[in-house]
Amino acid sequence: MAKARALDRRRRSVKNIRKITRTMELIATARFKKAMDRSLSARDYTLRLTKILENIASIGTGTGLEHPLLEVRPTKRSAVLVLTGNRGLCGGYNSNIVRQAQAILGQWRSENVGLHTAVSGKRGISALKFRGVPMDERYTTFEDKPEFAAVAPIGRAYLAAYQAGEIDRLDVVYTKFDSIARQSAVTETLLPLKPPEAPRGGQQAAAAPSSASQEYDFYPSAESILEEILPASFLSRLFKCFLDAAVSEQVARMVAMKAASENAGSLIKDLSRRYNRARQSQITGEIMEILGGVEALKK
């Protein structure tokens, strides 16, 4: 009967698909580990910059910390950066980001705020294009290993635009990596920067000449260092968004391909059972035919 053949063909096809999804799962696992290592190596830089910022904050200049990047302005024009992946087969990763991006863009539009939209990742670009969202910048070169040298020019352009008053706010929509079991699509405001806070108990500790707190000299001056360190801190935060997005994408693909492989496995089991049943009933039918023929010839 043709039915057995058709089932066998389906079963073979599903087996091939399972080979592919298994391979993709392994590759995603390897890439995730590398991306995770890069993300961890990058943490030190941000921590040390934050430590210096806290030191400056704790000495407390009389007028309070002032810097154009800390300045909060009424939002007349907002910049939004959306980080998606170049490829699919990663579960809800890209669609969650697109949904989040549409929410924030819709919110700004309803408040009559001018928008500058930048999208990274071919999936995001095509999804937003389909939904008729105007995009000012498109980036397609960020894959699983974002480099600081590639992110820095983008960051510096935003800094220049903010200081020139061309934008009043920068929101980044990306998938934050909390842990291997938890990644969430979030919108973070990167500009204006949050003013650095002195570490708790910093004021008292600074007075005590213990080795735990240090009275630093600042060359050339605390203000000058602050002026340089805030842009550096912003760039490292932006870089972290790109790193997090890359790690989350690999985890999402790992999980999706694992689920697909398992689905394929259970489908193969089901198809095998049905194929065997069809094959056996086909054989039984043929035997019955032969027996019937023999009976007919006997009489």
Binding site: S41, E147, A152, Y219, P220, A232
Partner: protein
């Protein structure tokens, strides 16, 4: 005051100054040396053991670690760094910079070619001129470091 053979209480392994170079992507270097010279914004500054704590803005130039642990007392490890900050305290020098390249891996010819290319570039407008001058200064420093190392 300076000197490597101080009191007996200081163990052999905690000699000199600890030098750490951190970039946005990774920690490039974490070693100990007798003396560290780094490019502060207004010139080279040397840091030895027991230096007063300070936080400084860095310029473009060479970080030299003399007498690194594990090599000869006069051996120098040189690295090129481009701007950033330095935190000195408790016998540790932490350099936080956007770019750090070991001088041994620098190609003097390529660095010089890069400098020449920048010098022939045209720039108009205050911002572009300032950017080009900055890039030139960085390229010149890189050539210096590369040629000194080779």
């Amino acid at each position: 005051m300076a000197g490597t053979t101080t009191s007996a209480s200081s163990a052999r392994s905690t000699i000199g100054v600890r030098c750490i170079i951190v970039t946005p992507e990774t920690t490039v270097l974490d070693t100990r040396g007798r003396f560290v010279s780094l490019p502060l914004f207004d010139g080279q500054r040397g840091v030895g053991r027991g230096h007063a704590p300070f936080i400084g803005r860095l310029g473009v130039g060479e970080v030299r670690i003399t007498g690194e642990q594990g090599s000869g007392a006069e051996q120098v490890r040189s690295s090129f760094i481009e701007g950033g900050f330095v935190e000195v305290g408790q016998d540790t020098v932490t350099i936080i910079t956007q770019r750090a390249i070991s001088a041994a891996t620098l190609d003097a010819k390529a660095a010089r070619a890069n400098l020449e290319a920048l010098r022939t570039q045209k720039a108009t407008g205050d911002e572009a001129i300032a950017a080009r001058l900055q890039a030139e200064e960085a390229a010149r420093a890189m050539v210096r470091v590369a040629e000194r190392a080779s």
